[in-house]
Each structure stands twice: as structure tokens, then as C-alpha cells.
Symmetry: C2
Subunit: 329 residues, 2 copies
Amino acid sequence: MPGRDDMSAEDRLIARFFQPLATHPGALGLSDDAAFLTPPPDCDLVLKTDAIVGGVHFFPEDAAHSVAGKALRVNLSDLAAKGARPLGFLLSLALPKDVGDEWLEGFAQGLRGDSVLFSCPLFGGDTDRTPGPITVSIAMFGAVPEGTMVRRAGAKAGDHVFVSGTIGDATLGLMMRKGKDWNLAEEQRQHLVSRYLLPQPRNALAEAVRTHASAAMDISDGLVGDFSKLCRASGVAATIDVPRIPLSDAAKAAAAAEPEAIDSVLTGGDDYEIVCTVPPAKADSFRTAARGSGVAVTEIGEIKAGEGARFLAGDGRALTFKRTSFSHF
Amino acid sequence: MPGRDDMSAEDRLIARFFQPLATHPGALGLSDDAAFLTPPPDCDLVLKTDAIVGGVHFFPEDAAHSVAGKALRVNLSDLAAKGARPLGFLLSLALPKDVGDEWLEGFAQGLRGDSVLFSCPLFGGDTDRTPGPITVSIAMFGAVPEGTMVRRAGAKAGDHVFVSGTIGDATLGLMMRKGKDWNLAEEQRQHLVSRYLLPQPRNALAEAVRTHASAAMDISDGLVGDFSKLCRASGVAATIDVPRIPLSDAAKAAAAAEPEAIDSVLTGGDDYEIVCTVPPAKADSFRTAARGSGVAVTEIGEIKAGEGARFLAGDGRALTFKRTSFSHF
């Protein structure tokens, strides 16, 4: 007769590693087929899914807690750019046979830390065996006051273009992981590599974006390609002053050592910064709100009538790029 | 300068295959970072994620449209058991390099068909390359009137136990796929194999379950193990009369040829039927509502005070099982 000990290995794994993250009452301690969530009043839900795959989006030897953090944060970054606050997430985890409890412990610990940090509880999950690499798929849901999700479409001629944080760090960090060396100081190396390893999504900026931006998106596949998408979606052109694009000291040092690195900075992936457009009348207020959020924002250009985003070097010449966007396909 | 032709291969894939499924206005034609959804008034959302992995949950040679259908339906089945109606889904798709347009065309066609059949539009997706097998992860969201999601906990002594459809077909179909043969008629073979290939989730029964059942779950890992979980969650015991468990003609023929097959019928996975408990006063009304929904339901036993689900053979003896539940771990 079945008793407690017919609990499957998957149930045990869920109970041990993931139940502690399921702090929302609607998650029912992960003990039901599904979770429920009473939506906040007068809000729209904002829905997003993004997966990361071992050997594609992270290195198999990356620490389990940073794999968890990356999986969650690439989704949180989209919520931030849409002006949404996180409500929670679903986790779908495919694990090779050789992944043991030690890895799972680190993974759950990373997930738990970020779940608390970003007020984003686990609502449910699914774990499966795979003959392939570790695959972590997150479905994230957030909320905005009804009708206020910030879209890619919405930028108007005259709007100011802002980006958060610094651009290009993660892609330079990835290049270093692959053996590139610009004779950087140890601290600079660490900065770039850690920016690749663990995104810093700008959720603190979400409310400022929501209340000021005419259009926004997160930069995950490179500033040039992503911002060009925003311009296309909005039916506008833009000029971006490349020298105004904010770079970290480490990225500046890499670009000084190898001027061509600026191409990677502008078109490489994994920034997880926000690019947004703000009407002129709201620009000062946006700067103030951003300061209050603790996230640096920098004005880098202007929206124009027409079509196409132009990236202008210091001499006013429009840059061209070998590829404008990162793609695994 | 970037123009239309910097559209990435992933963007093209999404535009060609998946945009036609994104019929909800909040999906924004899959052209934004995220989707939005205004929740139905006075409803709770019901949230579920489940993934299927090539070589684990389906055969690599299975038709792409049935892979899509299976991925969606295993999630729809959970909504049905919780009494929820589908609102939509997010898709996360990891693809090996050798998956081409023909497979994607079939996959999208299968997804589109079921998306229409179950009124369940695509809200967003993510496609990635993987060095591993095809992995399809779905996050599904549905709705129930606030506070009415049917849970596993809730069964009370005296409640009648019902199951939908027939039990064990899919696991027998899987055994046939792996070479088992009971000298069945061709039609019977087809029935079993197709039940494995493409689940028939009982979403038509959802409203009847929601308005009558004290507890419910979908049977995905075998009736014995899953129903035992329901009993544990509810803190009750039960007796199930095995001869009353509804079997298809094909399953009956297999069990006649090999009596031990009944063990697989009761503990094998992939039924995607609903097991639910209904208070005696509501049992007749439930039968009527089920008839109206077009889904067959069969009473198979009764909830008792105590602990443990007992499965009784025709002679009243309690059956024991080698394993009570299907698990990939």
C-alpha cells in the first residue's frame, strides 16, 4: 500500500530545494498541480519567458548560484524595462543525470537570494531529466497599473534617449572568459567577468521608466540591434552620440588597448541595461527619479523623424557594424 | 547602418512560425519584450509550468505537430483538474541545430491547432539553440472565479471518487512503442499508441469539476501514485474498487492477454485524466454536468477516514505495486 515512502525522487527534490522559495500562499507549498494568484486590483499582468542553456548562455563550470541568478535576472530585466514590478515566477528545470545535490543546493540558494532581493516568489516548477545540458526556463509575471506597460513602440521625434548603467561590460567579460586579454588591472577583469556571470537588472528604475518613458526595452542582444528594434517599432529614426555612451573604467581600458573592442561593446549581448526614450518635458524629472532609485542613467542621443538609428562617432561619422545584434541562430 | 535586414534569424523564426498564434492583443504580435494581460474581473489566475524533453517525454521521431500538442496539453490538463479555463501560455523552445523549417512548420501548426481548440493564445516565447534534445517548456495561465481553484486537499470521508475517460491507455501505448505486443487488433493498437502520442486533456469537464469537486488532480504519473498524493494532501484514506476503473477495449484486451499489465495500467504515466472527489449530495449533479460536457466519468471508490489509498481487487484483497508512480528521477 502506498505510504509516505512512495514519494518520488522528484517530489523529494522539490520539497528539499524549492519549497523554501514558495513563500506566496498561492503557491500552496508546491504541493498541488498548480498555483493561484489573486491579481493586484486595477493592474495588468506583464508576462515574459526566457531560458538559459548550459554551454550556450552560461559555462558548465559556472557556479550554480550564479546560473540561478542569471536565469531569474534576464527575465527580471524585461519587467524592469516594461515598468513592471515582479509578482513571481515559474521554474522549469531540465537536469542531466550527473547533476547532484551539491549543484542543486547552490542553485536553490542563488534562486532564493534573488527571490527575496527582487520580491519575486516561486509559484511553481517542473523538474525533468535531460540527456542534454542544464536548461533553466523561467516564466516571469509582473504587474503595472492597467494600461501603463511601457512598450517598444511609443518613441516620438524630439524624445531624449537614455541608457542605464554602463554598456558592453558583459560582452567584454565573455571575451575574457574565452581568452581575450587587454592587460587590464585585476579589479577591471573581475568587473567585466562578473557582469557577464550575473546580470544586474534595473528593477529599481522600473517605476521611473513607467512614469516617464515613451518607449523602453532591455538591452540583451546589444545596444545597436536592440535600440534599432525600438526605433522600428516606434516608426522613428534616432542619432546616438557614441562618445556619450556610458562605459565602465574597465571597458574604457579595453577600448583604449584595442579600439575595435568598441564594436563589441555596442553590439555584444548580455548588458541587461535599459534603453528608453523620454519626452523633453519629462527629461529632468526622469533624471531626478533615476537618482532617487540609485540607478545611473545617461542621455546618449535623440529621437528624430524618419527611419533608422544612426550611431555617430566623435567626428560625426556614422558607424557601421559587422553585425548589429547578438544571435544564437 | 542597421535597417530591416539586421533582423536576426531568431526574429525571423518568431515572425514566420509563432506570430500567427499570438492572437491576443496583449501579446503585441510578439514584437515587444513582454506581453500584457488584463486579468478577468474577480478571478484568480491559475499558474502551471511543465516541460517535455526529446528522448524523455517523446520520441525524437514523433511528428512535430504532436510534440507541440503534447507540450500544450500536459499543461492544459492541470488547468482542467483545477477547474480553470485557459487564458494563454508562454513558450520556451530549445532547438538543436539540425531542426529545420519543416519541423518548425509542423510544430507551429500543431500549436496553432490546439491554441484555437482550447482558446489558449500564445502570449510570448523564447527560442534558443541547444546542444541537447528538443526541449519544449510551457507556462500556462488560466482563470477561476476568485477563491475557487480546486485543490488536492479537500477530500472528506464519504466523498465519491470519480475518474474521467479511461485509465492506462497511454502507458500501454508507450510499452507498444518499445516493442511490447499483446496481439491486439490494429484499431486497438492505434488507440493505445495515439493516447501516448497526444493527450486528451479534459478541459471540457473543468467547470463541472470546479462546481462539484472537493478535491481534484490530473493523473500524469499513474493513478495509484497520484491519487495517493491527493489522499495525503487531504488527510484521508480511500478504497478504490479496481474492477470499476474504466478501461478502454484495447486496455482490456491487453490485460486479458497479460494479467500483469494491470499493474502498468494503474501505475504508468501519461493518462491526463482527472481524478476527483465529490460530496455525496453533489454526486448526481456531477454526473449530469459531466454528461453535458461530453466527458465520461466513472465512480471508482470512496473516501474514508484515516490514511492511505487502498486499491481492492475483485476478491476484496488490497493490491500491492512494485512502484506506485512514474518518475524520471
